[in-house]
């Protein structure tokens, strides 16, 4: 039919642009476009560079902490939102607000708050918690980037988890209370396993987003260690080493893919419990009794 005509404009544009960018990156990473011809030198060069590994470590660290932080924060809020609360719509609106704030603005807001003479330091000084201001902007570990990721992504995690939690029938939660489950048992044995698919989606999407982050790292991140995207950008635009940049780009993509698989594998065992409790022979024996 004319199906392909319908799909062409939307799907076609996506496939075309993504495909050509992917094609370029693949070609360039092995130097196929140069006169020298194909070579794996760019791979071995880039992969033997300790700077890359520092970047990988930094990016992985901030993404793991950022995505976990967002999800851990979102769970209790989502549980809280299940209850009837006056003004719920307004509360949900407020909770979503960070999503509407562009990343750069978010970075600016945070820097403002945590800068040397920012409100955080001043309040801590005034409260007597510290006696000289803390230097926490552009920290080496990446805490400020983690904070930004959490700030920006919690609403997203909240939306995914909330809709998953809200779709649990209240009968099921009543049943678990009826059978003697405490609030914690109810969460860990019923709510959490039932929200695993949403949790996977939230973790994967936030993690991949954070892994490819450029803006947060280059504004609020460490001055000594680059995030992978920043490193790739510098390599391409400051040193014009397109081939190395392509290798870094592919590293980001491979890491994204691997982490998606890893997240799925690590969370899946929590979803269902079907391990046999008793064997058939046990049943026979008890039948005879």
């Amino acid at each position: 039919m004319k199906l392909w005509l319908l799909l062409l404009p939307g799907l076609g544009s996506i496939v075309f642009l993504m495909g050509s960018a992917l094609y370029t990156i693949m070609i360039q990473s092995v130097g196929l476009h140069t006169e020298l011809g194909a070579s794996l030198d760019y791979w071995s060069d880039t992969l033997s560079d300790p700077i890359l590994f520092r970047s990988i470590e930094y990016s992985l660290r901030t993404s793991v902490l950022g995505s976990l932080g967002a999800v851990i924060l979102a769970y209790p809020i989502a549980m809280w939102l299940r209850k009837p609360i006056p003004g719920k719509t307004a509360i949900i609106g407020l909770l979503r607000a960070p999503m509407f704030v562009p990343g750069l603005v978010a970075a600016f807001l945070l820097i403002n708050v945590i800068s040397f003479h920012g409100i955080l330091n001043e309040s801590l000084l005034a409260l007597g918690v510290i006696d000289k201001p803390l230097r926490i902007t552009n920290d080496k570990f990446g805490w400020s980037v983690v904070m930004l990721q959490v700030w920006k992504n919690t609403p997203f995690a909240l939306i995914l988890l909330s809709s998953s939690i809200n779709s649990i029938r209240s009968d099921v939660l009543d049943a678990s209370a009826d059978l003697g489950a405490s609030a914690w048992a109810n969460f860990s044995q019923v709510v959490f396993p039932l929200t695993i698919p949403a949790l996977q989606a939230a973790l994967i999407l936030i993690f991949i987003g954070a892994l490819g982050d450029f803006a947060f790292a280059s504004i609020a991140g460490s001055r000594n260690v680059y995030s992978l995207s920043v490193l790739m950008h510098y390599t391409a635009t400051a040193y014009y080493e397109w081939e190395k940049a392509a290798v870094i780009g592919l590293v980001i993509m491979v890491l994204s893919g691997l982490s998606a698989i890893l997240i799925t594998l690590m969370t899946r065992p929590f979803a269902n419990r079907t391990r046999p409790v008793i064997s058939a022979s046990f049943l026979e024996r008890s039948h005879e009794k």
């Binding site: 544009s13 996506i14 960018a21 370029t24 600016f108 998953s164 280059s218």
Partner: protein, 276 residues
């Protein structure tokens, strides 16, 4: 027991208010405060509060920096992106919303790719491709790049819109001998209006706040509001200027997103990601 519940509610609500205060109000308040610092009376340590508040900074930023140019660029890019995206997305959204075909799920997954692919990678290698082709027209390449980034959202929102049109309304139209165009106008259009509008606005928002593509493809001369903010936050860090530009970026954004909320009644995210 009843009072106890009420107490818990009050405690949780006030806790929420406090957290939100720190989480949202304080950062924005600081930004607004910084943007209102009078240029001739700088706010510096140990002043707890700026000495003079005025809108002079806003005027100064507008007059002395290239913000007007960036605004012009951003706001001429965005409508082009929005129109192009919705036009391209509509047929595909129709196919996803109303037709069943083999490989539909795969096709739907592929449309989500631009959402998960790090944009910096796309930006750099799209620019490299354009460089190889000898093409250097930043306005046009940014429009194309933004369109691809916005397409997944537009397709999602609009295919949900197409899906929501009840088959019996379409049948009824056809049954009464309406032509295809009339059917479209009377059966589809009224139900699609909110999702088309929401898609348009979503595209505007995406384009206006998009940084990576604009930064890489526009470098070095073509500036947009986010890229100018980036430069104010980076090598030429002037806090009050950055505050002003931040607000220039965030205020229209929030207003537009509120409009979308209204249009899609808060479902836009579940519609646009399909995950929720």
């Amino acid at each position: 027991m009843k009072n106890n519940n009420k107490l818990i509610l009050i405690i949780s609500l006030s806790f929420f208010a406090l957290v939100n205060f720190i989480w949202l109000v304080v950062p924005f308040f600081m930004a607004v405060l910084w943007s209102l610092v009078d240029p001739s009376h700088p706010w510096s340590f140990p002043d707890i509060f700026p000495r003079v508040l005025s809108f002079n900074r806003w005027i100064e930023v507008w007059q002395t920096t290239s913000l007007p140019e960036a605004m012009f660029n951003s706001y001429s890019l965005a409508p082009a992106v929005a129109l192009l995206t919705v036009t391209l997305a509509a047929p595909t959204a129709y196919a996803f919303g109303r037709l069943e075909f083999r490989g539909k799920q795969v096709a739907e997954l592929i449309t989500l790719l631009p959402m998960v692919m790090p944009t910096m990678i796309l930006a750099i290698f799209f620019s490299s491709l354009l460089l190889d082709l000898g093409f250097s027209e930043p306005y046009f390449s940014i429009v194309v790049a933004h369109t691809v980034l916005a397409l997944p959202y537009a397709i999602r929102i609009m295919s949900a819109g197409f899906k929501a049109v009840p088959q019996d309304v379409i049948d009824a139209c056809a049954d009464m001998g309406a032509s295809r165009i009339t059917t479209f106008r009377h059966a589809f259009l009224p139900m699609l209006k909110p999702s088309i509008l929401a898609s348009l606005i979503f595209c505007l928002v995406i384009s206006i706040e998009e940084f990576n593509m604009s930064y890489v493809l526009g470098a070095p001369d073509f500036i947009t509001v986010p890229t100018i903010l980036y430069s104010f936050l980076g090598y030429s860090f002037v806090r009050p200027d950055a505050a002003v530009v931040s607000l220039f970026l965030v205020i229209p954004n929030v207003i537009l997103m509120l409009v979308i909320e209204r249009l899609l009644k808060g479902n836009y995210l579940s519609q646009s990601t399909g995950k929720a």
